[in-house]
Symmetry: C2
Subunit: 212 residues, 2 copies
DNA sequence: GCGTAACCCTACGCACGAGTAGGTATGCTC
DNA sequence: GAGCATACCTACTCGTGCGTAGGGTTACGC
């Protein structure tokens, strides 16, 4: 070559990260289907065949995005909520870590999650991650219950945990849509709903439908 | 013609409903993009141009599905939760109606909702419906609060309502994935989480982050 | 300095599916 | 029973975007 620097050659590991960054960005902005491999490649400053060479097909690329972001989030949460703390403390730290994570990655992360829910091939992937979370929350509740000498059917526990996780994801969406909102405060609000509700349940207080 | 009955000619209104039925079914099974107009037409027992003639483009067709199902749901809920009842009673009836609805339409409805969240063009449509629900729930909480002479910032109320709606949608997903589960019982469980938590909040009990 | 492997490109093939053109039959009205 | 609107079809066009063929260039080991 003569004039242009023809842009640097970079080692595979670096390029892969650039591609994943671009992919997350484009997927989250356009949605899985509307996103084109051409746009992702262009955004990554590379040509399309490189993307195929390194990360495989569009589906595989999306799964790679899911994995990277999912792992990051799980680690953020797991790192914050040490398993030897009391249940409320664990829940609080977990929530704070979660909302902190979502707040930091705003558009990128939450929207990517919104994508994966709808698309058949990835719904399973996502469901697995959610199931892990539900399991952790349910385990936490169970632990707290046993500490008080109480016990509850596994299904009931799972459903309550499911509701809490759902509420949390919902607030994460809300946070992603409100750039000015404070993650910490959102976590506090979630903690209020979750813990006061769960706390009552843990103490054996239950609501029963009116007998009509 | 000679042999085959060449299948009946039907009035427009009837065919439109058949098409919408087929569309909901196919959209929910395949997802918006993976669904093809050909498959929808075939499933409705009609040819593709008819679909275009009656319901318009693919996007318009999807919006029509959203509208029909959304209206049905809203009516089911509104009809159950009369505005002059006490808050807990309204909440309970609303939840029961909602889960009853989801239980009845299982795959069709809930999955359709799962679709609309991800796709850019429809996310707004869905957000509007959800906003209406959030508003109703928030209004309910506000009403109950004022009855006790208390008051809470609008944003706080909105966020709590958002969390409750999110938890409910999440359980609806759970219900849709567990065909054997009982809608009524799911509603009771949701009521437990929602009301005991909200009840505490309404009585001025709040959780505060540890000062560390 | 020379081979070889890794990095990177410009094109294209090709399938799939949205939307349409143009025509046929059937019921309804007068 | 002529006319007209409505219901309905088969068979296309055409854009879009995934994935690839085939080839060039830079670095690095020996």
């Amino acid at each position: 070559m003569s004039t242009a620097p023809t842009f640097k050659r970079l080692p595979r590991a670096v390029r892969e990260q650039q591609m994943l960054d671009a992919a997350v960005k484009v997927f989250s902005r356009r949605g899985f289907h509307a996103a084109s491999m051409d746009e992702i490649a262009e955004d990554a400053g590379i040509s399309k065949p490189m993307v195929y060479a390194y990360l495989g097909t569009k589906e595989e690329l999306f799964v790679a995005c899911l994995h990277r972001e999912g792992t990051r989030m799980m680690q953020a949460i797991a790192g914050a909520a040490a398993p030897d703390l009391p249940a409320d403390e664990r829940l609080w730290r977990g929530l704070r870590a979660f909302f902190g994570f979502v707040g930091a990655y705003r558009d990128g992360w939450a929207v990517l999650y919104r994508q994966a829910r709808g698309e058949q091939p990835f719904a399973g992937e996502l469901a697995t991650m959610r199931a892990r979370l539900v399991e952790v929350v349910a385990g936490m509740l169970d632990h707290a219950l046993r500490a008080e000498g109480r016990e509850v059917a596994a299904t009931d526990l799972e459903v309550v945990a499911y509701a809490l996780v759902g509420a949390t994801e919902s607030l994460a969406d809300w946070l992603a849509d409100h750039p000015d909102a404070d993650p910490e405060k959102t976590a506090t609000r979630m903690m209020n709903v979750a813990w006061l509700g769960a706390g009552q349940l843990l103490h054996g207080v239950t609501w029963r439908p009116p007998t009509d």
